[in-house]
């Protein structure tokens, strides 16, 4: 398949001066530096430093593919998007794009406060690349989506910020190019409109267009993207499977080495000393196999008897969303006191299993609603998949949700 976007060795450097000078200068400054150093090229070199926002980025995107770009703030995502949408030129390298291209980077840029909603739809639409005929055609859909029908002939300066962004998003969301560059911060407005935005972005991404998608939400990236790139400090650290790219992003957001053995802190009354992910045989493992039972071993030390205290374990999704919680009191009606001593707890997970991917564990010793004696977070729980699963074949090789348990359906035909 021929790539429709071909990025080769793109780099972008900026000169950063250490004087906090504004990027624009005044004639005076330039004259002054010429007078001071007539042969110095007009600027003093010691103050400036070359900063590479992007370094040798190369990748290709095929037709119809949804390509994700993930990375921390300052990793060069925005710079790359700006280069791709042609507002900024790269320092070196070339990009070839085959097809009509549009970008949805920031909504509402170019909205003029004095113009009415209707006028802004036309002006903004034109700026984003739609022809007048096209805007005419989509006008009703845009307005309907934005839910501001009643204020169309009011200058947008009188709009609430919610109305403003809704209208702005609607215009951008009705672009229909071959290649679309989307920044996820686009999902705007209140919760329900954000949901609508994401649904729209989903629909666009699934409509067979080639999409470049930038997001901080790994759930969305995993759900939408066929492939992804992980950027770190301007360098493409990984290009390929979405799963691995998002995993790297998540891993970077955590301490590099995850310690599961904890030093005792004499100030604490109660604390964990070890948290270990084990297979069914009780051996410590780096990653678990999907659909195989596993267990968690906790050791903790109670130095002072703690009243009304429980030990809890939560499983969190890659995005930090708690999806399961258990505690030592799962079967008890009342919370009891934790007596002093050193304990070892084995928590077997046999009833349900998780889909492949990275999850996180959070363990705590707490008096609910009162005090947390100890809290350990971000303990990775990696689940590997060794065989291909027929269940994912219709969903781009991805699982929907977190639980992998299969269910046998009983189906009887009631009528022919």
């Amino acid at each position: 398949m021929n790539p429709v976007i071909k990025v080769s060795d793109i780099s972008k450097s900026y000169q950063i001066s250490h004087q906090n000078k504004p990027s624009y200068s005044t004639l005076k400054d330039d004259f002054a530096s010429i007078i001071k150093k007539p042969f110095g090229g007009g600027s003093t070199k010691t103050e400036e430093e070359t900063f590479w926002a992007l370094k040798d980025i190369s990748f290709e995107v095929n037709k119809g593919e949804v390509f994700g770009i993930v990375g921390q703030n300052g990793s060069g995502k925005s710079t790359l998007l700006k280069i791709l949408s042609r507002t900024v030129d790269p320092t070196t390298g070339t990009i070839d794009m085959y097809g009509r291209t549009a970008s949805m980077l920031e909504v509402g840029t170019g909205f003029h406060p004095e113009l009415t909603g209707r006028e802004n739809v036309y002006f903004n639409g034109s700026m984003l690349g739609m022809s007048k005929a096209e805007i005419d055609e989509k006008f009703n859909a845009i307005v309907k989506f934005s839910e501001v029908e009643n204020f169309l002939d009011t200058p947008v300066k009188f709009y609430s910020s919610g109305m403003y962004v809704r209208l702005a998003f609607s215009v951008a969301a009705h672009l229909e190019p071959d290649i679309l560059i989307i920044d996820e911060v686009l999902a705007v407005g209140d919760a329900s409109f954000q949901k609508k935005c994401m649904a729209r972005i989903n629909a666009i991404a699934r409509s067979g267009r080639t999409v470049l998608f930038v997001s901080h939400s790994m759930a969305t990236v995993k759900q939408l993207c066929d492939r992804a790139m992980y950027l770190e400090k301007g360098v493409a650290k990984y290009i390929g499977e979405t799963e691995f790219a998002t995993e790297q992003y998540m891993a970077k957001n955590m301490p590099a080495v995850v310690e599961t053995h904890f030093e005792e802190n004499p100030k604490k009354d109660a604390q964990f000393t070890n948290i270990e992910v084990q297979n069914a045989q009780g051996e410590k493992v780096e990653a678990l196999n999907m659909d195989e039972p596993w267990q968690l071993e906790l050791t903790y030390n109670i130095k002072e008897a703690a009243e009304n205290t429980i030990v809890t374990v939560e499983i969190l999704s890659n995005e930090g969303q708690p999806i399961y919680m258990t505690s030592n009191t799962d079967f008890d009606k009342t919370i009891s006191t934790l007596e002093t001593g050193r304990y070892k707890a084995i928590i077997p997970f046999t009833k349900f299993s998780l889909v492949s991917g990275v999850f996180y564990l959070r363990a705590s010793i707490q008096s609910p609603g009162k005090v947390a004696h100890d809290l350990r977070e971000n303990i990775p729980l990696k689940i590997r998949q060794n065989t291909k699963d027929v269940r994912t074949q219709y969903f781009g090789g991805k699982y929907i949700g977190y639980i992998s348990d299969k269910v046998e359906w009983t189906i009887t035909r009631r009528e022919r």
Binding site: Y24, D30, T87, M127
Partner: protein
């Protein structure tokens, strides 16, 4: 979508020539930019289009009082009252100075979109001149009214030369304005210097005095200023005096040179606009 750019190539190399094909494809955006400027200009003003008339009209009043009555400057033509003479000049001069000003500030004014959305950067510059052209057409209504009031019979050449003179003046304003617009991105001094420059230029251009006040052997140099050429010519056309075609040729050449320099500098600095604006 604009049916363009089925293949876009982005390279680090400089884009140094003006892509006229692309400009043409973005003509609708040019129209929308111009339309926005005009809409916004007439929207929140009580007088709306009235300002287009009032500005040269009031200026004419002031100049007539001080330059004609007090200083004794005349139109240089016994049949033409000074007020009518000054109004025609100021009408075209306003078109020149306003476009020069709006074009020079056009990139800064749209810096928000410039860093977010791609379109040929010349588009906002070009469309910034549209407003002053519309203003000129409104202002010319009063001129024709004044012709009737003062019972001056306009020359046919005036009507024929109206559009060419307007084109020359707008072209010149664009050439210089495009240069300043690009310079303005890097050097904000332009913004402060511009009102001063236009003021000086007003006195260097035969707007409030006739060209005949300039010693004959220097007259040809005045034509280096394209605004001088356009204003002298439109006056000669309406008020039945002879047109200096050599002078006009110099004005046109000078405007073309301004445009070439303007476009050259614009193209040279264009790729850094979004980074430093």
């Amino acid at each position: 979508m604009r049916s363009i750019d089925t293949h876009i190539s982005i390279t680090a190399s400089k884009r140094n020539s003006v892509d006229f094909r692309e400009l043409w494809l973005y003509r609708e955006l040019f129209y929308f930019f111009a339309w926005r400027d005009i809409k916004v200009r007439y929207k929140q003003t009580a007088l709306g289009a009235g300002w287009a008339i009032l500005q040269p009209f009031l200026a004419t009043g002031v100049f007539t009082l001080f330059f004609n009555r007090v200083a004794g400057i005349s139109s240089g033509n016994a049949h033409v009252p000074y007020a009518l003479f000054a109004y025609l000049g100021l009408m075209f001069w306003n078109c020149f100075s306003t476009s020069l000003n709006t074009v020079s500030n056009s990139l800064l004014a749209s810096s928000g979109v410039l860093t977010k959305i791609y379109f040929p950067r010349l588009i906002p510059c070009l469309s910034a001149a549209a407003l002053s052209v519309v203003d000129l057409f409104f202002a010319s209504l009063i001129f024709f009214l004044m012709l009737g009031i003062y019972r001056v019979e306009p020359g046919l050449e005036g009507f024929l030369l109206f559009i060419p003179c307007l084109a020359l003046i707008v072209f010149a304003a664009l050439g210089v304005g495009i240069f300043f617009a690009a310079l303005n991105v890097k050097y904000r001094d332009v913004r402060s210097a511009l009102p001063f420059i236009t003021q000086i230029l007003l006195f260097m251009t035969p707007v409030i005095y006739p060209l005949s006040y300039v010693p004959h052997r220097f007259q040809i140099f005045v034509y280096i200023n394209p605004a001088a050429g356009a204003i002298s010519t439109i006056r000669a056309g309406f008020f039945h005096s002879s047109i200096n075609w050599t002078g006009n040729l110099i004005s046109v050449l000078s405007a073309v040179i301004c445009m070439i320099i303007g476009l050259w500098y614009f193209k040279k600095t264009e790729k850094n606009f979004a980074d430093i604006i």
